[in-house]
């Protein structure tokens, strides 16, 4: 018997949460967590390196365990849940996607920067050929004006995506910004809309509720808040709030609480909280990879790294443009000097 689900949750602790433990998941941990989530009737469980298939590298951090082993273990464990993988074209390859599908993955989220959906069509086409449910995952969604976001989401739909996600990668969107974006997508697309939050501004649960109120039907959560930066939307908390609101997720709240406390919490090296760095990233709306660069540039020019990050956020600088950080710092230092500060 299928439970009624008003909202369909995807649990990302075994993917985005991988960042929180420096990609050190073991097969045993993934098996235990997947078993618990499956028993709690979570419909989708994502398993991949934090940066998606093929992310294990010097640049993104090496995984302790080959992600294919983790995917295979999770797929072999679950009885009702479907295993999802994340694929960022340019990091992961079509070969890796095929391999994940062979091992039992049933869904793939093809992730691109919010303005670069046009790198996704081949990967989406392959995913459909492989019989996978396919999601267009628009990262750093705050960096595009709403019209641009709609245009890019429609591209994802045109490539064959079954649903498209607004991804608040930097945890920077405010509730009214989520509302505007989801509403516009809901009016322009006929496929399901999803929302993926980060908790840098402590708004992940509230923003997820707002998204649901505006018609998002797919929501990501991470049990015990296990995710990059300040973590994602804490799944068991979201389930509790939605239950109070009369919105059915089909997920067993008590079981999720138990899995969070007994299986996931002991895996964490330290609890997820909103630290200074996490808050700065959410406030400025920039990539976490900018943080160390900005701190180095700040030391060089004798200014505050936060001013650099806020300026980078305003300029909507994207990943790969790290060399601009020194220019921005130099410019800021000059302005401050001129202003006599």
């Amino acid at each position: 018997m299928e439970e009624k689900r008003d909202v369909i949750l995807t649990e990302v602790a075994l993917r985005d949460g991988s960042h929180a433990i420096r990609h050190q998941f073991t097969v045993e941990q993934v098996t235990q967590v997947a078993k618990g989530l499956d028993e709690a009737n979570v419909p989708y469980i994502e398993v991949s390196h934090g940066d998606g298939l093929g992310g294990s590298s010097l640049q993104y951090g090496f995984s302790r365990t080959n992600e294919m082993e983790l995917i295979e273990a999770a797929a072999a464990t679950v009885k009702q849940a479907k295993i999802s993988v994340l694929l960022i074209p340019g990091i992961g390859t079509k070969q890796e996607l095929k391999h994940a599908a062979q091992l039992g993955a049933k869904m793939v989220r093809v992730a691109t920067h919010v303005t670069e959906a046009d790198v996704a069509p081949q990967h989406i086409a392959l995913a459909k050929d492989l019989g996978l449910e396919t999601v267009g995952f628009l990262m750093m969604s705050h960096m595009a004006p709403t019209e641009k976001l709609v245009e890019q989401a429609k591209l994802m739909e045109s490539y064959g995506a079954d649903s498209v996600y607004v991804v608040d990668s930097a945890g920077t969107l405010l509730p009214h910004e989520v509302k505007e974006r989801i509403r516009a997508l809901r009016q322009s697309l006929s496929i399901d809309i999803g929302f993926h939050a980060h908790n840098n501004l402590s708004l992940a649960v509230a923003n997820s509720i707002t998204a649901i109120e505006e018609g998002a039907r797919r929501i990501d959560g991470s049990i015990r808040c296990l995710g990059a930066g300040a973590g994602n939307t804490q799944t068991e908390v979201l389930v509790a709030v939605l239950d109070r609101l009369g919105i059915q997720t089909g997920v067993d709240l008590y079981k999720m609480m138990d899995v969070a406390e007994e299986i996931v919490a002991p895996i964490l090296e330290k609890p997820q909280e909103i630290t200074k760095d996490g808050l700065v990233l959410g406030y400025a709306g920039v990539y976490s990879s900018f943080l160390l660069h900005a701190q180095a540039a700040a030391r060089k020019f004798g200014i505050d790294s936060r001013d650099i990050l806020v300026e980078l956020g305003k300029m909507k600088v994207v990943g790969g443009q790290e060399d601009m950080i020194l220019d921005v710092a130099a410019e800021l230092a000059k302005k401050l000097q001129t202003a006599g500060l």
Copy 2:
């Protein structure tokens, strides 16, 4: 020069936050935190035992340092901030309030259960006589229907309170419930309305924004989320979000981030997070003091303690009625048996 403040913050880490470190604050810690908050231009800093003046006891936990020493140290440290104290009639006494005022406290929040404002008039009158700014602080505000809350708030106003707070002691209010309550108070009172949140459902920041949108002008925060249970509204996060919304707190965001990271975080025994117990309390909307009783009763009757807590929440059982927990557990066990579960 007075900064423009659209919203007036009261920092409660040195009072509500005292719970998070089992009331072990030292004079040196309080002095350092108060100095940092004062330099960040926080207008009010509350210092007391977690359960208010006179809270140091076998029942509520003994303080490491006499709270009067902590109040005196904080008052001697601040240059612009005003020191606040919490007074729960029945726990704290008028004598203690006089003593706190002599030591430099400039504000008192007279706290009662949401339906028991009528125990406050003498304490409010004394506070006014002492020249203190005086706040009516309606705890467990979710337990009264909105009309009752308005009635009780009007009592606080009639006793002479300068402002009245909706206090979400169990961290259980949902955004639409905050909206309804603050709106009703705004329409019925002429004094300032305040809001004090807890983060059990990860909604403290969002609920505080909702309260401000509905006209609340006074908001409580706890730096680094330091507070009872899942903590309160993380002050530096709230300041960042309000800044993004163009709402002036007059508080220096960068300085608050630094104080959180460098002074407050090292004091914590472990970071604040939303654990199973914290979530259960917020979901059920009950006193934290019920938790151990419910767990004991659950073991006795072989049922889940969460079912007991949810039932107690529905029945709106209040502190002092702990003896009802066994009755509720027995009743639940009987029902489950009858239902063949």
